[in-house]
Symmetry: none
Subunit: 399 residues, 2 copies
């Protein structure tokens, strides 16, 4: 898709805003038969749905629940099955670590081992974060020939390990045996490209064991979620857009950053994000604006809180419209139905409102109504071409 | 798709008609909120939509505006991303040149160069067509070892260059620098297969320069839109159909011809086309009937003219029905919304009316109504299998 699009991209001075409500999609509450979107008073979103074209976004495949990585990559126009962003990378992005293409990242835990080397606590008694910071300082002293070793604290017993260098592989087994009474496992390469990397990680673990010997309860490390940052085509070049991301949460800023968007400084609330959008309106063509509250409520299983989050969001819509974007898109990175209290596999409502978004029968921004929209059920990575088309930023394919 | 279909094809004496309205799909006029199809009085099309199954055709991919080449190849059952038909090929088809698989075609311009060889007029003052004819006669004298050189006049300063021979490549850069005051560029191969072809084109250009030295203002040539005619599976064999094309415009006749349809002689109006359909009814199984007026009005940005074109078309529908086709299909090769005054990316309404087209809720042939049809939003290359199925011309897949 990216290869198809690139030669068709043309420039103009249109403005595009993607309002992404994290965990947007929901499911009916059994008592009422209505989903969160069907319950909420969201007149502005319903009006946008009436004026624009609607559909449902499927981020990965039917029945597949997207994590935040694939959910966002899909929204950004990347095939999430081709460009995998795994746990280690997300953990690094979550602390705004400056990951580079080819870096291998892993989630680390400090843990407790006994004299025989068997694990007695997989989380080292959840040591305070300041102890974590002190112990990662020790680990930063580890030197491995041919690779740069970076260790950064996260919170309590958690840290991030990043290996940087040429030719690293990220297909590595984890060292956490997931049970007590056994020693950490050696890392094994899961493909040929990762063989040398596996040796280096085992060297890291051996040195960590020595450096932490006197640091009980945090006298050993466990590593999991190994992952290599894929060499993602840069969003600004792929789509010919000066692109900015506005997100209060570090992980979403990180995801935008790895595709090459400018990440704008913003405050912690959505009002701050909208203010940031306004401030930088002239400087960019495309804005990814992230709203977290819907996902938080959905994952908490709090139907009423999710309804309230949708209503709070709706009230900001006119402020965004006042900027007169040429293309306004509202969708999300995945569903988080309150009745699941987790991410869901359900396709997520999407609306595109532009001068050219077309004749569309949908008059409400809900799961059920959007199913009848002219966008159909759309793989998420096809959203960007549609958005560019609505901005008149694509020429025709073939003569 | 073609590989899947071929072994399933069975013969019978059913008749299939595809009525293709060029640039069919539209967009609402802001003043009324209604599209061209929603505005036009088209009772026959609405009745067919009521009786048949409806949906929307997407010819290339969401957001991608199809050119006429990919638009038609999709309707004919070919994947337009696999079988690319470029500018040079279309220009050759537009003069009904008998292109063959493997031919490389380019659009040519006569241009004016000064004593230093720099371009002073990219169109040679738009020389009259008879001068163009005379000068292409000179160019026909060019001989290049290992390749047949064919030059045909088009109109004013335009001509077509075709190279014919084994192993030619069509991935070539153009010679037009697109600015005045610079010399024409040498052709470069854009892939390894085109390297030898590039040398041959440069030989052609050098000889053309010599032959035209005294022919100012048309004393040089520019070449662009190089393209190789792909080796398209033949439609009659792929689908087991004696297939005829009825189109007044050369380019559409050309597109039908390159897939192996018989192109029937017809007059310049749609009444002539319908008469031609009637005359040849017994001799073919499948008819592609092309209606141009909708696209012309759409590309002119003339909403009312497009409405009128739809109404004129609708009046012919009973004449086609009177022939009692077993499967009647109405769709188009792309949208041409009047508000865009150009081809559009919007999916295009499609209806299939046969004895077996099924229970479908749609009762109007409009963009909005067809979005709710049982055909869904369908990649265009899936239309032909559906049409064959409705004609009972496909056996089941697998035991």
């Amino acid at each position: 898709m990216l290869e198809l699009i690139r030669p068709l991209v043309v420039g103009n001075d249109s403005k595009i805003v993607l309002l992404s409500l994290d965990g947007l999609g929901g499911l009916p509450r059994p008592e009422t038969g209505k989903s969160e979107l069907e319950t909420a008073r969201i007149p502005n979103l319903h009006r946008l749905a009436t004026e624009g074209a609607c559909g449902l976004l499927r981020h990965v495949a039917p029945g597949i629940t997207p994590g935040s990585g694939p959910g966002h990559l899909g929204l950004f126009g990347y095939d999430p099955l081709r460009y995998l962003v795994g746990r280690g990378v997300l953990e690094a992005l979550g602390i705004e670590f400056d990951l580079r293409a080819g870096d291998v990242a892993a989630r680390g835990n400090f843990c407790t081992v006994d004299a025989a080397g068997d694990i007695t606590d997989r989380r080292a008694g959840r040591i305070p974060t300041d102890v974590c910071v002190r112990l990662t300082e020790r680990l930063k002293g580890i030197r491995i020939p041919g690779v740069e070793v970076i260790v950064e604290p996260v919170k309590e017993h958690r840290f991030v390990l990043v290996l940087r260098g040429a030719g690293l592989g990220g297909r590595l087994s984890e060292t956490d045996p997931q049970v007590l009474g056994k020693p950490p496992l050696p890392v094994r390469a899961l493909d040929a490209e990762s063989a040398v990397t596996a040796e280096r990680v085992n060297t890291f673990v051996a040195q960590a064991r020595t450096l932490l010997a006197d640091a009980a309860p945090a006298n050993m490390v466990l590593l999991r979620g190994f992952d290599r940052l894929p060499d993602l085509p840069r969003f600004p070049e792929a789509f010919g857009l000066r692109a900015a991301a506005i997100a209060a949460y570090p992980m979403y800023r990180g995801l935008a950053k790895v595709v090459g968007m400018d990440v704008l400084k913003t405050g912690g609330g959505f009002a701050d994000e909208v203010a940031t959008l306004r401030e930088h309106w002239q400087s960019y063509d495309y804005f990814f604006v992230h709203y977290k509250d819907t996902d938080k409520a959905g994952e908490d299983g709090d139907f009423d809180a999710k309804v309230a989050a949708l209503e709070r969001f709706d009230a900001f819509v006119p402020e965004v419209e006042a900027l007169r974007p040429d293309v306004l898109v509202v969708s999300g990175d995945h569903a988080s139905p309150s009745v699941l209290a987790a991410h869901g596999w359900q396709p997520v409502p999407v609306l595109i409102r532009s001068r050219y978004s077309g004749a569309d029968p949908v008059t409400a921004f809900t799961e059920r109504a959007c199913a009848a929209g002219t966008l159909g059920i759309l793989p998420a990575q096809h959203l960007m071409p549609l958005v560019l088309a609505n901005a008149l930023r694509l020429t025709k394919f073939g003569a």
